[in-house]
């Protein structure tokens, strides 16, 4: 992995001595001293595990109504109660991971791929003239314009235009997040391209393309991964928010925002469990990804190691 290589290259006279596996060893060393990081990692691991196994461990079918069980409060039989459609809230909360997590992860991966490739091009070939320079200038101007939109409203407009479906929500989220990666990576590349090792590669006769993707790209993977963790959390919030206002995942898919929307009508009559539990699951998940992102940022940045 790229961050392992870069970590080895930079381990100098520090308190921690990098072993053969460098970055990974350091990450575990880091975890030991950061309870918040452990919490974040634990949450993320549990959530990902649930994404895989939730259909097998959910006590009830998340989409099958249970006759006579409308709006029952939490009990030993139904831990999170049942909702207005007589569905088991606990089972729905668990299986919602299968909608929220894959959509958020795939959308983030697409955003990262687009943002990182364009960011490297814009950073490395920018201010250099030629077709690369023009392309990077055009990309930056487009980013200036996209930046003017409030993120949630741009996503809302995209889904409104393309129609509310799970795929379109994913596309919208990838679209609004790609500029964040682009800006981040471009900034990193601008710094890296003046480094002596890059100059050395160029002197050795490496082509621009080779330098950009073989020498510079590995150096920006760490910050991109950190951003990705934060973005996944943010993407989950966006999916839930869009679904909450009816511009997201369609009914009756188990999805946290959609469940909160359905449950919001029961609040008036005192049935809090239909909206509180899915919201808690949503908040804890986002919290986990944010903590993990923060921890990765500290662990993967060689300059912060002490």
């Amino acid at each position: 992995m790229a961050e392992t290589a870069s970590a080895d290259a930079t381990s100098g006279p520090q308190r921690f001595r990098a072993g053969s596996r460098g970055g990974l060893d350091y990450f575990f060393y880091f975890l030991k001293n950061n309870p918040f990081a452990i919490l974040g990692l634990a949450i993320v691991v549990v959530v990902i595990l649930l994404t895989i196994i939730s259909p097998y461990i959910a006590p009830y079918d998340p989409q099958k109504t249970l006759p006579g069980k409308t709006l029952k409060p939490p009990s030993s039989e139904h831990w999170f109660g049942t909702d207005i459609n007589a569905l088991d809230v606990f089972s729905r909360t668990l299986t919602a991971t299968r909608t929220d997590i894959p959509v958020a992860v795939i959308a983030t991966a697409i955003a990262m791929f687009i943002g990182v490739s364009l960011g490297v091009v814009a950073g490395y070939f920018g201010n250099r003239g030629g077709p690369g320079g023009i392309a990077s200038e055009a990309t930056l101007r487009l980013m200036d314009i996209l930046q003017a939109f409030p993120v949630f409203i741009l996503a809302l407009a995209l889904v409104a235009g393309t129609g509310a479906s799970t795929i379109n929500v994913g596309i919208a989220i990838a679209f609004v997040n790609a500029p964040i990666f682009l800006r981040l990576i471009r900034g990193q590349v601008l710094g890296l391209r003046e480094m002596p090792y890059v100059e050395a590669a160029r002197c050795a006769g490496a082509s621009g393309k080779r330098v950009a993707f073989r020498n510079i790209l590995p150096g920006v993977i760490s910050p991109a991964l950190v951003q990705a963790s934060v973005t996944i959390g943010f993407a989950i919030l966006l999916i839930a928010g869009l679904s909450f206002v009816g511009a997201g995942v369609p009914q009756p898919t188990p999805e946290w925002g959609l469940m909160i929307a359905t449950g919001s009508r029961d609040i008036v009559t005192g049935q809090w469990w239909t909206s509180v539990f899915p919201g808690l699951a949503l908040a804890i998940t986002v919290f986990g990804f944010a903590l993990l992102g923060e921890a990765l940022g500290k662990a993967l940045d060689p300059l912060q190691r002490q």
């Binding site: 918040f36 101007r141 487009l142 200036d144 314009i145 996209l146 003017a148 939109f149 409030p150 993120v151 949630f152 409203i153 741009l154 809302l156 407009a157 995209l158 889904v159 409104a160 235009g161 393309t162 129609g163 959390g233 919030l237 839930a240 928010g241 909450f244 206002v245 009816g246 511009a247 925002g257 909160i260 449950g263 919001s264 609040i267 008036v268 005192g270 809090w272 909206s275 509180v276 919201g279 949503l282 908040a283 804890i284 986002v286 919290f287 944010a290 903590l291 923060e294």
Partner: protein, 340 residues
């Protein structure tokens, strides 16, 4: 210098707005496979769809359609909402004060509470107090960032409306039984104060307290973190040490640090504003606020394309204006930015 900067920056804002209008046009007008069918549904006759297409100008070329739309926008015509059958400009104008009152108050509250808190906790030391502040600011930032605003609104409504009955029902900005003040500024708290309508003021504040808290709590966190970090860095900066060596008082030094911390904090406040505008869409829906955010959500449910288009254009225009104002303010405080 100042004039040159304002002109240059304003031109950039106009280019941004034009670019944004193209993107909005493409998203809302071109992505739906056929707005005419979307409006009429599929169970109508071919001629009706064709007639509507002709009336909406959908048979013209795309650049032509954009040009016609842009001219209309410049004449203050955002088209007619087929759902409310009003001009979208009137619909938005009627609802904007409600949204502005909400988001400006939320921004005001977060600035007034969180920025001083950031300054107070900025001085770092080995004391327990400093460590608690460290963990507190970090935890609050992480929690606020993870909390879905619409869900927090619901939970608070359950607690303070359903259970405790401390706040009024989430049905708009003021209770129906109260006579609202005459419209002067459109902001209920200002209008009712001017007219001495205390019952209306009380009702308006009661309706505002939860949505304002939700927005300020969820979106204000970066302000606290940024203020704290910036002021903390400034207090450690060399110019402060030099000032201390020259015998300046602590008060004077703190003032110097604060003045130098202001520009990044102001820039961030602009960014936070953009997020609050987005968050208002969700929070308005929870509290049936009757502002432009709720209007946008209704428009999406009704496939009301003119209304969606108008809303996104206005919301983006507002945030472009805020970024412009923030940049000019930044320059007034720190004229070095223009060189960069």
């Amino acid at each position: 210098m100042l004039r040159r900067l304002i002109v240059k920056r304003s031109l950039f804002a106009i280019v941004q707005l034009l670019g944004a209008s193209i993107i909005i046009f493409v998203i809302v007008r071109l992505l739906p496979s056929d707005p005419a069918t979307a409006i009429l549904g599929t169970s109508v006759q071919e001629e009706q769809v064709e007639a509507l297409r002709e009336r909406l100008g959908l048979n013209k070329s795309i650049p032509e359609q954009y040009w016609i739309w842009l001219q209309d926008v410049f004449h203050g015509d955002l088209g007619r909402s087929w759902f409310t059958s009003n001009n979208v400009v009137d619909d938005l104008g009627q609802r904007l004060p409600a949204t502005f009152e909400l988001i400006l108050l939320a921004l005001f509250v977060s600035i007034v509470i969180l920025i001083p808190l950031g300054v107070i906790t900025a001085r770092r030391s080995r004391s327990i107090y400093s460590k608690v502040a460290d963990k507190g600011v970090f935890s609050y930032g992480m929690l606020a960032g993870a909390t879905p605003d619409f869900w927090l609104g619901l939970v608070l409504l359950f607690l303070f409306w359903v259970q405790l009955d401390w706040v009024p029902a989430p049905l708009g900005r003021i209770s129906i039984s109260i006579t609202p003040p005459d419209t002067i500024t459109g902001f209920l708290i200002i209008d009712s104060t001017i007219q001495g309508n205390w019952a209306a003021l009380k009702s308006a504040l009661g309706h505002l307290v939860l949505p304002v808290f939700v927005l300020a709590f969820v979106y204000g966190a970066p302000l606290l973190k940024m203020t704290r970090n910036t002021v903390s860095r400034m207090l450690d900066a060399e110019f402060i040490d030099q000032g201390r060596a020259a015998g300046l008082s602590d008060r004077m030094l703190t003032r110097m640090a604060l003045k130098n911390s202001l520009p990044p904090v102001i820039t961030l406040a602009g960014v936070v504003f953009g997020f609050v505008v987005g968050g208002a869409v969700l929070v308005e829906t929870v509290f049936s606020w009757g502002g432009v955010g709720q209007y946008a959500v209704q428009s999406i449910a009704n496939a009301d394309f003119n209304a969606i288009q108008g809303f996104v254009l206005v919301a983006t225009g507002i945030s472009i204006f805020i970024y412009l104002a923030v940049d000019i303010l930044h320059y007034l405080i720190d004229p070095r930015v223009e060189a960069g």
